[in-house]
Symmetry: C2
Subunit: 581 residues, 2 copies
Amino acid sequence: MVEDLKQFRQWESRTPGHPENFETPGIEVTTGPLGQGIANAVGLALAEKHLAARFNKPDNEIIDHYTYCILGDGCQMEGIANEACSLAGHWGLGKLIAFYDDNHISIDGDTEIAFTESVEKRFEGLGWHVIWVKNGNTGFDEIRAAIKEAKAVKDRPTLIKFTTTIGYGSPNKSNSYSVHGSALGAKEVDATRNNLGWPYEPFHVPEDVKKHWSRHIREGAALESEWNAKFADYEKKYKEEAAVLKSIISGDLPAGWEKALPTYTPEIPADATRNLSQQNLNALANVLPGLIGGSADLASSNMTLLKKFGDFQSDSPAERNVRFGVREHGMGAICNGIALHSRGLIPYCATFFVFTDYMRGAIRLSALSEAGVIYVMTHDSIGLGEDGPTHQPIEHLASFRAMPNILMLRPADGNETAGAYKVAVLNRKRPSILALSRQKLPNLAGTSIEGVEKGGYIVSDNSTGNKPDVILIGTGSELEIAYKAGEDLRKEGKAVRVVSFVSWELFDEQSQAYKESVLPTAVTARVSIEAGSTFGWEKIVGSKGKAIGIDRFGASAPAGTIYKEFGITKEAVIAAAKELI
Amino acid sequence: MVEDLKQFRQWESRTPGHPENFETPGIEVTTGPLGQGIANAVGLALAEKHLAARFNKPDNEIIDHYTYCILGDGCQMEGIANEACSLAGHWGLGKLIAFYDDNHISIDGDTEIAFTESVEKRFEGLGWHVIWVKNGNTGFDEIRAAIKEAKAVKDRPTLIKFTTTIGYGSPNKSNSYSVHGSALGAKEVDATRNNLGWPYEPFHVPEDVKKHWSRHIREGAALESEWNAKFADYEKKYKEEAAVLKSIISGDLPAGWEKALPTYTPEIPADATRNLSQQNLNALANVLPGLIGGSADLASSNMTLLKKFGDFQSDSPAERNVRFGVREHGMGAICNGIALHSRGLIPYCATFFVFTDYMRGAIRLSALSEAGVIYVMTHDSIGLGEDGPTHQPIEHLASFRAMPNILMLRPADGNETAGAYKVAVLNRKRPSILALSRQKLPNLAGTSIEGVEKGGYIVSDNSTGNKPDVILIGTGSELEIAYKAGEDLRKEGKAVRVVSFVSWELFDEQSQAYKESVLPTAVTARVSIEAGSTFGWEKIVGSKGKAIGIDRFGASAPAGTIYKEFGITKEAVIAAAKELI
């Protein structure tokens, strides 16, 4: 609508400064941060190839579309773009067509100052088909021919390099960085109008242009009817597949899916939550047709392989184990593309928790653009041991607790891992990060899926009248420590409540009454323990409580040694509690 | 030492799980997270080329060394590696020689499953000289010839691809991922010994091997003497340059350097802290010979150009403005390499604050490896306005306040920006992040460099006896709001203290008495205001105080509108204060 254009960059308009999928119909992904768009496009094209392989029939190719992406010089410089494009080449995403706007201008001026590589050669190395359109400004026949050629190449993605002039038509500002983000100004607008022979008022669209373009409404409607008829035919012939495809498109979860989640009792031997995560993923793969994902070259450490499926590869695209290679940032953005392709596709991806640092740009866009990606992040603390400080997260839990619209979940055992997956699957417009342990953790009495859904809950308690002497709070692998400290303190006659704080965001969303029932205002004797930064814990333990954590980098040694040296111990919890009681 | 090897991965050993520059002499940079090493190497080679161009004389090439780097398949997949290598090609870093260990095995198995690009072709596209050594296991002559060839190519960096076998010598485990990180096991160790004809006990080094290798001690000592003599000659002939070079090598700051920092009075017109930052950078460039840096294609927005210098380029390497292109992650890691090359090199780098998400892996390594990089991060809040939520930081301040060994500084005006630079330059083993505004901010009475050095300090106060009715706390662009709210409240007869909280880390390091003098325990009426996540603010305002902030994503609109709609206003501060008094 013309009215929307007039509201460009204004409060609550449908035309914000960068396109936002949640603001404006027709916008498929939120981009703006460079390189994300092309990586999203790889995800969209992966989704198409995957769904086509699963659902197309010889007599009815119900999934059949191209993915187009426009990217500029800046996108080409970003590492994430190279990561995603290397995968696109590897996967042979033949229906991905990328338009590279080679205008050799970026914000700092001519790209000559920082970008002199041969993009064509690089993309040939990445296994792409490359076409160069020398007159990208007005070479319409050349452009049409290039797109036709790109479509004809089916085994590889195509990059069409269009050499263009930025600000084409502006006599004094074209081919300069000054047209990137600033308005031309009234004088130069006039000069440009004259130069292009465009005599109309601002926002006026001449009748013949309107007529020419509005044919797309008719054509689009016809294409939609055609597809609907095709789907009706598909549904008639392939009832079962059609139902599954429908649920993948709509995002409706199959009834009773959550019954597939495993439950655990304290008798079940201790296990790492990364292993429990794999049990959940495999259980969910049986009931969620849209679950698809993998790891950035750590599948055997992150425990993310779906046992009943093979690898998604160029020649086996119906499979659901995706091998991302060591490309965390590209992986996240590809998953955003998958999630936003069809609401019922549930992508998960994995690496060590510390390497969320490599993919934070994509994770933030999951949160902002409401892409319900599940981030399976293992090796979530100093508990990983010998790999040392480069691999040991410290500040990461806090850093995601501060991020809007994302769920940071740190389950403590089997039931909590199942609960974390329940929450993650239900939240289709909010991504989840699961922080999972490398080390074994016992199944604790009192943990539950329902507890996880509330974010924070009582795991064990011997107090009465909502008046414990002390509240011990733990998350993930440290819940066990709090739990055992509670047992010891009770032997000394104390009334101790142990609380699991698996997700701060979910707890924040509970009623005041519920919160008071878990953390009564009157009880200021509170001790928290978490093998990570104490930053933010004052909110939970209050100014009179004590937060036990780690406010330095980790160290390389066996995990038990590091826990002891860093004071992340039962003894520390008991000592802190005694000081407060 | 053999004893060190026996302590592999043990507590406080010199042989941790990944090499750490701060643990072990001879380790130049901390790597481990993939792709960082090659990007560090680009920074090291840049430093060499830069210093050589500045200090070498026709009769004395005092700076003259190669930078070698070993990288694997995993590093090659990471986007950061492509970013850094694209720059290395652009800059023509002919003395950078990268050994690519092409063993076609990564943790998930054969690289065929995720990595089938042509690395050679990509590197040729990036402007590198590429050599392939087919027998990287035992082709010693081939290897020597390749290194010789690499050294002979002076205008481009060289990638030598060595095709190798991982776990070479192990009869049953070589060429498989199982030798990546796990011990071979006693049986396979025996089999490997037999296979390689190595009959010795563990940790035994035979005499002839010891003799062969220990010649390097002698040779190294000779090379050192030779260089020292060369430097003595240099010092004799080029006294002034020698003194500067010495300070760059040692890291000793020139006496009185801090006098160059500009100071400001309230009469000086309002300005954006990004502009004030540029005044500081240019003032410092006059007195700090090691200051070198630039932006990721946002120099004209980040305001980072040094006016008296030109661009560091292939043919002008003595200059100090580095053009990183849109490669944030590579930029950070390159700066780590520069910082760790010579303690007196002070690299700074810049982008929008929100894009720290793209480079967090490198920033964390600055902190861990004690590289005193200065991160100049502008457009630090919703105050950037129209670009919208993808460009507006929310959780970023909190996320860095939670990170160990880094200074997160958010100056409010001219004096505070100068103070932030003073702190950043002084902290040579701790990186600093400066969060700077796009919008203009007035110079406030009461701000000071000394205040910034304490992290938090009183900017204005009409209370007596350390008993204000209320304490208003602001940072950066919101200090002005707190300041004005204080003025209004005083007109109503209140005793109001206004505190600037420019760096939480520095405040934490102050004495208990100082902290009490700024934030007296008895005064629980505290209101903070910051255009970012409130996460963590409970620590400062206490459970009875009120933190005004933003716990959602931003929006695209003029900055003033967003501030008003989000309630980041003087009125909100006054209302909150009145509720508490």
